[in-house]
């Protein structure tokens, strides 16, 4: 499955400045691992020592927080958009 991953400003230097990257994978976790494969350094920024998403990282699949879905196990579909968004905003 090819999905588009949207990258926030803070992480764009890791992706050569790109705001979007196209990647393959069948779950949210696989796509994010593929992101780290294509642009090393992402995993360290997105995951804690236990491999879970860091406290202040939100990931949205087609505008839904993956925590409301199946987390990193959430299946992704062809052409969907995955957004990485810093949690510290709003209020």
């Amino acid at each position: 499955m090819s999905v588009t991953v949207r990258i926030p400003t803070q992480l764009r230097p890791l992706a050569g400045g790109a705001g979007e990257v196209a990647l393959d994978g069948t779950t949210v976790g696989e796509v994010l691992k593929a992101l780290d494969g294509a642009h090393p350094g992402f995993a360290d920024r997105l995951f804690d020592d236990d491999g879970a998403l860091r406290r202040f990282v939100n990931v949205f699949l087609a505008d839904e927080d993956v925590r409301f879905l199946q987390g990193l196990e959430t299946p992704v579909g062809e052409g969907q958009t995955l957004s990485i968004v810093p949690a510290v905003a709003g209020g």
């Binding site: 860091r54 202040f56 505008d63 510290v88 905003a89 709003g90 209020g91």
Partner: protein, 419 residues
């Protein structure tokens, strides 16, 4: 001059310059303003504050921006009201209500926006933006109008009419987004990457913006004769306000404005229909699970609170607690405050008062404590919530007979309607 030495990540401690940054590049943790407290202590005094303006800017040494002419509609210096009738109903001793309903646009948001936009202007921004549950949009639109800045505010499309109208009247761009506040917030977090030249007060300017809430603590301490209260009850949406109230009291001691180190117990108030932080507290959990909000307290309807974790920790460390209250209890809280103290709060204020009732009933808030309840938004913004339950006590023909038949006022034995 200001007394800011830099920004620092609250999680990993990495340091950053004084720029429009809200999160750590490395771990995404929130950035905090770092002050030179020794210099603040030397520069400020109770006398200097007393001679300052009747606004939040009287505490400018402890704010992250200094400007001889801040972007100011007069936020702050709101009444701290001794609430004896409410205290009697609740079985409390010394109870005060911080009446922040009377700020220029009717909520505490004027405090944070005045700070945020003053800093944004200093940093060179010309566009003021925000993600809002309503009150913030009101305030950003008004302050931007005052400052001659362009405004672009984002709100959920199902907001109360008053909040939509009182934002739109200022003439800026107001964008109603089909979705919840969390959807609006996610959109703005992404938009802030696409429009780095815009000052999103609660995204890229959030580090400075949040500091404005400390003035809720500064004022209460000053109004109590430079004493801290024993216990405060604060409404929780993102959790930012609660953590900054705690920070405010502790800073006053740090810079010598309080003689004794304050030990303020801090309790949080949430609506049961959106209580991710209260739920984590009740469960003894360390992880805040996001929720989909369903509550009349729309100004608190943040299902994924940015500072939820810190609010939880602040409450636990201070010996406070959380309460969560139903829509019916919120309405009753609004009516109780109105009929006992003559203060009309919006639904978030109803959450505070109803939570206070629960915390008294459970023995968390005690009669021997000096208690302050923060009521942070005006009831005129959410009249929809009250319209079905209150109205004229009599509707009569314009005759003496009709009046005599319908109304019986006994001034010596009068109780206000509570049903």
């Amino acid at each position: 001059m200001d007394y800011v030495t830099g920004l620092r990540c609250r999680e990993c401690g990495r340091q950053y310059p004084v720029e429009a940054l809200n999160i750590c590049d490395y771990c995404f943790g929130p950035l905090e303003v770092v002050y030179d407290y020794d210099a603040v202590a030397a520069a400020t005094s109770r006398e200097k504050i007393a001679a300052g303006p009747q606004t939040i800017w009287r505490y400018s040494e402890l704010l992250p921006v200094s400007d001889p002419v801040p972007i100011d509609l007069g936020a702050g210096c709101t009444p701290l009201v001794r609430a004896d009738r409410l205290a009697a109903e609740l079985g409390l001793g010394e109870l005060w209500v911080k009446n922040d309903t009377v700020n220029p646009t009717g909520s505490f948001k004027d405090r944070v926006v005045s700070v945020a936009l003053t800093k944004a202007r200093q940093l060179g921004f010309k566009v003021a933006a925000c993600a809002s549950t309503g009150n913030l949009a009101n305030s950003v639109a008004a302050h931007a109008a005052r400052a001659g800045m362009v405004s672009v505010v984002f709100i959920p499309s199902d907001l109360e009419v008053a909040k939509v109208v009182t934002t739109a009247v200022y003439g800026g761009n107001s964008v109603a987004v089909e979705g919840t506040y969390d959807d609006v917030n996610r959109l703005c977090a992404e938009l802030s990457s696409e429009h780095p030249s815009w000052a999103f007060v609660n995204v890229n300017i959030r580090t400075y913006y949040a500091e404005g809430s400390k003035t809720l603590a500064f004022e209460v301490a000053e109004q109590l004769g430079w004493r801290a209260p024993d216990h405060v009850v604060v409404p929780v949406a993102s959790g930012s306000q609660l953590t900054k109230v705690a920070k405010g009291f502790s800073e006053l001691y740090k810079v010598g404005l309080l003689d004794e180190e304050p030990h303020v117990r801090i309790s949080g108030a949430q609506a049961a229909g959106c209580s991710p932080v209260a739920t984590a507290y009740a469960d003894g959990a360390d992880v805040i699970r996001p929720v989909k909000p369903h509550t009349i307290a729309k100004s608190l309807a943040i299902g994924n609170p940015a500072d939820g974790w810190y609010a939880l920790k602040t409450v636990r460390d201070s010996g406070g607690a959380f309460a969560a209250v139903t829509d019916e209890e919120i309405i009753e809280g609004i009516r109780l405050l109105a009929r006992t103290e003559g203060i009309f709060a919006e639904t978030a204020g109803g959450v505070t008062i109803a939570s206070l009732m629960k915390l008294v009933a459970s023995g968390v808030v005690r009669p021997d404590e000096r208690v302050v309840a923060y009521v942070t938004g005006n009831g005129l913004k959410t009249v929809e919530a009250l319209a079905p339950v209150v109205g004229p006590t009599a509707t009569i023909a314009p005759t003496l007979q009709a009046f005599a038949a319908a109304v019986d006022v006994d001034a010596d034995n009068y109780t206000r309607s509570s049903t």
